[in-house]
Amino acid sequence: MLNRLTISQLTTSLAKREASAVEALRSCLDRIRQVDSRVHAFLSVDEHDVSRQAEQADRLLQSGKSHEEMPLLGVPIAIKDVISVLGQPVTCGSRILGNYRSPYDATVIERLRAAGAIVFGRTNLDEFAMGSSTENSAFGPTYNPWDLSRTPGGSSGGSAAAVASDSCIAALGSDTGGSIRQPAALVGCVGFKPSYGLVSRRGLVAFASSLDQIGPLTKDVRDTALMMNVISGWDPRDSTSIPKATPDYRTCLGGDVRGLRLGIPKEYAIGGLEPEVDRAVKAALKHLESLGAEIVDISLPHTEYSVATYYIIATAEASANLARFDGVRYGLRVEGNDPLELYARTRGAGFGAEVKRRIILGTYVLSSGYYDAYYLRAQKVRTLIRQDFLKAFEKVDAIVTPTTPGPAFKIGEKIDDPLQMYLSDIFTISCNLAGICGVSIPCGFTVDPKLPIGLQFLGKPFGEETVLRVAHAFEQTTAWHKEKPPL
């Protein structure tokens, strides 16, 4: 049952020699054999490679290495299959990468290795992280561990389902418009999106470069702090990485929230919010008040434009970033009589429907005659959205919202209506546009069927400590995060 442990529980166990890294790994592999044919969180696990890593971790533990020196020593961490790991595939959930294998480790992977982690299996995702349900994977959807007829959200649905089904100890995901927080909410785990520039993206296959961030999905808030200690910090090889010292995030755990001012945006009281989500979030606010936090009404007046702004900026950047998949240097190639034909045929055959939709939309909003009306205007509205947050943060320490308007939806329910799918990201998208940080933690369940509900805290730029402090205080005085899906 080592697979069920959190990072802090497992490392305690490893340090006391009650368990070995090989045993922890075996327990995760057994769990995958037991449940993953139903959940499909993983695209691949290189058993030989992970066994070698576990044996190495045990040797280091035996030689007296401590978790102070190597905080993740012996801990299996699953990796969203959009992050490069030396010698391993990175499919991005797409056919277009063919048999591609990464010739280098992403910076976050180098950091996980330096911390002693077992860089574990590759998790499923919406193709190129474009989607909110993991249904856009070329390799089939991931299923929600709480109800296998439902999606786990997305795009980091594989990472979220792997954590929720105890098939790993923790995972890495990426978040461009909610792709860590939304699936975390829908499977009932913790999902953290760091401030833009805090975690290096070198080795992350780019979707929308001004929005993408790597972050952890974990079983509790303490584990998020432990993961952030390892992965955050300046990387001179990522020119958007912020040269800034990072704190020990453990110091914000167990902190007091008395007197902390938490903002409730009035614009987030939208019609589409499901009653059970509304009730759970209201109860959570009451609970936060009982802990001594002060609830303050705030306004984010440009909220109604956030989804439209996002889908112009993200698709424009995607159309440029995905130009590199042209059949010349790696991946799939469909031959043509000239380069143009080769590109178009390769991309036509290699990309799935959602990726084509977004590349074409992004190409259009950047095209001559439409650039000012769409892309430039969206960038200006982005300024207004960002200013809304900065203004709000003059009054409050953090903002509280539901993570999603409803619980996990059915497989197939929204797949043919892209606009409905996009609108399910309404509460998570602005965070990326503003470049701020955010976390989703469990705050309740619907009754029938029993599905997790997520509570989101949004923090100031580089306000990770406050967000983790309030999330931890909430978690430690509730029991929602301890519930396990009936797999």
């Binding site: 048999n99 000239d338 429907a353 074409i360 259009y364």
Partner: protein
């Protein structure tokens, strides 16, 4: 900012994506709907507002001009769909 003049064939060509006739019909219709929705941005007053390209723009990010280890020719070509003499092979561009 009308979306009625959205020409799926032309934009797909610009994007270098070959579409089947069925894809053209479906994507064209879906994108028409999405463009209708994003036209909402016309309502926003952006007079005098500067565009945001990055939340925390950093300028002149440079490094020392020094040679550092990088991929070898073999590693760089390791994933190539077609290669010859240490190069990528592509269809002929000039006669």
């Amino acid at each position: 900012m009308a979306s009625s003049d959205f020409d799926i064939k032309y934009v797909a060509h610009l994007a270098r994506v070959a579409l089947t006739p069925e894809e053209e019909a479906r994507l064209g219709q879906q994108l028409g709907g999405i463009l209708g929705y994003v036209n909402k941005l016309r309502e926003a007053d952006v007079t005098g507002v500067e565009p945001t390209a990055h939340a925390f723009p950093m300028v002149n990010v440079t490094r020392q001009d020094e040679i550092r280890p990088s991929l070898t020719n073999e590693e760089a070509l390791g994933n190539a769909p077609a290669r010859l003499n240490g190069l990528f092979v592509v269809p002929k561009i000039v006669e």
